[in-house]
Amino acid sequence: MARDLSLLIPEIAVLLTAVGALSAEMLRAPRAALAIAVGGLLVATGLSWPLLGTDTTVFGGSFRIDALSVWAKLILLPATALCLLLARVDVRGTAREGTVYSLLCFATLGALALAGAGDAMFLVLGTLLTGLATFALVAYPDSDAATEAAMKFFVFASVTGAIMIFGLSYWFGAAGSTLLAELAGVEDMPLAVILGLIAVVVGLGYKASLVPFHFWAPDAYEGAPVSVAAYLSVVPKVGALFAFAQVVRDLPADSGWAPVMAGLAVVTMTYGYLAALVQDNAVRLLAYSSIAQSGYFLLGIVAVGTSALALPSLIVFAAAYAAMNLGAFAVVAGAGRTLDALAGLGRARPWIGVAMVIFLISLVGIPPLGGFVGKFLLFAAAIDAHYTWLAVVAIANSVLSLAVYLRIVVPMYRRVETAGATFPGQGAWIGVVTWVAFVATLAIGLAAQLILAGPMA
């Protein structure tokens, strides 16, 4: 018991941080709540370092301490800290400011539960915990748009969640246990395994905003504060995608999950970028872009179990994706939500312009940036798993994505008289987040070895 708890110290620290931030809010001290939340998450990140290289389970196999779950902490906890700083700009001075910080911590705890899930119950727990916290976050501005977005989000989540729980009952029936590891032994009931898989794809697919379970995402991102949109695009998504990897590694290979994932990858990437091509709102464009990026993650998931590169590629791409996507959202948070608001930004604020260009071409996957290394490894994993055609489709989509992201770059360098007047305007935190993300995007590209040394050692 003591051993199990000691391995969960980072999660416990996040929980205490969330409670601490909530307590500070009750004392009407929102700045203290922010400080506790950011500080607590950074401490939890530090507490996760020693766990690198561990590969074990706790509580009877129900929660995994492995490369995926440890790296999820090392990636998502700092990412949440950056989102907290962005959120400060959005919610400063509002009535229940501190609850936002607390809810962000709770949602991250849910994402961590997903990323280390070794038991079907953790899938449910993680989905519900992130779900409940993020519904409230989306609805927080109390505007009509936010309420509508939260409502859509909630209804969508309830239905998909119900389907997932229903489907998981088949797995329980077939394996006689909720442990995912027991699924490997199920041989005589393939239909039950497949029904359960479909349900999990629905439940986690919504959270990771895979097409066709993505409909909530653009609306929710648009209605929510930009900081919450940034958060939704990174933390719950990476948690859900890592949960996919945790699930499929125990599935019998002949249950046909890999082609299903490959098909989802193709649909998600292609639809995401095609829809992004016609957006005029920068937040919606980034929402569809983040849908498409989920499709790239699936390349790594397809290769789980067949290629040794699968898990490293997922981890490196998750780190790069968190950095570049948060960076792009931070610039949008500073400049404004429409593409017009970005016009002339590159001329008025050259360094912010350079940073945004770096984020966007990293999202395309151009070297030597983080997005390139991540996608390169994902392609390698897919080819290694004999899914060369999938890598070809992904590469074709990368070209499409260039057209998408240039829709932001081109107006940034247009001559506009009033350009950049608003940036950053509302606070220096946006600048801090932008620079941290900028350095991380470059560093992950140039020093990927620092990450790879962990999972591959």
């Binding site: 030597p368 390169f376 080819i383 060369t388 990368s398 591959m456």
Partner: protein, 489 residues
């Protein structure tokens, strides 16, 4: 021994960072830093030339670990194929910065991008690690995109977008081929030397890798039918952009064709040799005929590039098909020399067209006339460069094309039909000279200034080198031949 290759490679990048770190730098200082960094790079390239190449593979190799988990490392070095291209790159960039020294529209960004592009270009030619190669290959793309989009002419946004989409679509298949070679190699490594010494793929896998690489390099060269981005990009690019694009970046394609396609999938390349040869012949002839139909002087030069690069493809394909190592060496010598000659001659031609456009604000040949009398120095320079471009003996293209044709005649005599291209380009340039520089001089061009000192400085070295390579090509050929003669395919 100081790491000269790495110093030469990163000196331009250091210059770019210095410019970025000095936000209020006056334009003169910015151009000064650009020229100084490029001059230093040229000195580095000359030092590399002094240290020479070895017949047994790559020389001056420098390496450090980068991503050991997947076998990627920082590895650079040169052989007789890459070293002349490094020198060409260093020369052209220095002259480009000299030419651009009067630019006053956002000089900081322009010079910084140019220096980044120079590092990317030298890196592409010196990289001995496939990931490193790909990194430099793509970085050059991004810098060139911003150069065209930021400082180009009327329709620059469209041309820049077309250039970026086209070449990104083109370069991604190379990534697939690199991954295929990586997964096929016995030890997980991206070391290009290992792939060349012992090609990791065979059979259908090698053929697919070759197809992917041919797509990439055909777009970059550019060859028929994926050449359409080139005239658009050239016409809209600023003069310096055109010089670099034609003089240096097109060579990425032909260099990759030799380094990757020919050396890493040699058997598949030999099997497809006739198809690639046909591609080269068609490209060369198409480029020449298309140039004949142009009225825009810059487009005309752009199309003759397709023609000249077609000869390079012919040379490489003939080298693959040749059974006799001696003939193969002749073909490759010609192909590599042709890359250098094209860089010198087309660089000069694009400078000259840019100088004309700066003065007259038009590129339409029909609007010129009699300029030889108005601007004699510019005119005679153009005559010299045009004669070089059409392959006149004694000038740079002649020894290169002669060797390519000689080897072609020995290996696949039918393909010598490509010689027709020379006759057509002769027509192209004679027509251009007649319309632009001869004939009645027009009153509206009276009083045009002739070449300034800055323009002379940019132009004269290229013309001198054009003559030097044409009259005495052996100083270049000796270096090239050391590698091509030892090449085992």
């Amino acid at each position: 021994m100081p790491p000269i290759v790495s110093i030469t490679l990163f000196l331009p990048l250091a210059g770019a960072l210095a410019i970025l770190a000095w936000p209020k730098a006056p334009a003169r200082a910015v151009h000064g830093i650009g020229i100084a960094a490029a001059a230093g790079t040229l000195i580095g390239a000359l030092a590399m030339w002094g240290r020479g190449v070895s017949a047994a593979g790559f020389a001056q190799v420098e390496q450090i670990e980068w991503i050991p988990s997947i076998g990627a490392a920082y590895r650079v070095g040169v052989d007789g194929i890459s070293l002349p291209l490094v020198l060409l790159t260093a020369v052209l960039f220095l002259l480009a910065f000299v030419y651009a020294a009067n630019l006053r529209q956002q000089p900081r960004a322009f010079v910084a991008l140019g220096l980044l592009l120079e590092t990317a270009a030298i890196g592409t030619f010196t990289a001995l690690d496939a990931i490193l190669f790909y990194v430099f290959f793509e970085v050059s793309l991004v810098s060139m995109y911003f150069m065209i989009a930021g400082w180009g002419h009327e329709e620059r946004q469209r041309a820049a977008l077309m250039f970026f989409l086209y070449t990104l679509l083109g370069s991604l298949p190379l990534l697939l081929a690199i991954l295929g070679l990586y997964l096929g190699s016995p030890e997980p490594s991206f070391d290009m030397r290992a792939w060349i010494a012992d090609p990791p793929l065979a059979g259908a896998a090698a053929t697919w890798a070759l197809v992917a690489m041919l797509i990439t390099f055909a777009v970059k060269i550019p060859a028929i039918p994926v050449h359409t981005w080139l005239p658009a990009a050239h016409v809209q690019a600023p003069t310096v952009g055109s010089v670099i694009l034609a003089g240096v970046m097109l060579k990425f394609g032909t260099y990759g064709l030799v380094r990757f396609a020919l050396q890493m999938t040699p058997d598949a390349f030999r099997d497809a040799g006739l198809i690639i040869l046909a591609l080269g012949v068609v490209s060369a002839l198409y480029g020449a005929f298309a140039a004949l139909a142009q009225t825009d002087l810059k487009r005309l030069v752009a199309y003759t590039s397709i023609n000249h690069m077609g000869y390079v493809i012919v040379g490489v394909a003939v080298a693959a098909l040749a059974l006799d190592p001696g003939v193969r060496a002749i073909a490759l010598d010609g192909a590599v020399l042709q890359m250098v000659s094209h860089g010198l001659v087309t660089g000069a031609l694009f400078f000259l067209v840019g100088m004309l456009q700066d003065r007259t604000h038009t590129r339409e040949m029909g609007e010129f006339g009699g300029l030889l009398k108005t601007v004699p120095a510019l005119g005679w320079s153009f005559v010299l460069a045009a004669f070089a471009s059409l392959g006149l003996p004694g000038l740079a293209h002649f020894p290169a094309e002669f060797q390519v044709f000689l080897a072609t005649l020995r290996v696949e005599p039918v393909a010598v039909i490509v010689v027709l291209g020379i006759a057509i380009t002769a027509g192209v340039y004679l027509k251009a000279l007649r319309e632009t520089f001869l004939g009645e001089d027009r009153p509206r061009w009276q009083g045009l200034p002739d070449l300034s000192l800055r323009e002379w400085l940019a132009l004269a070295p290229l013309l001198a080198l054009t003559v030097a390579v044409g009259v005495a090509p052996s100083w270049l050929l000796d270096v090239i031949h050391r590698t091509t003669a030892a090449l085992a395919l």
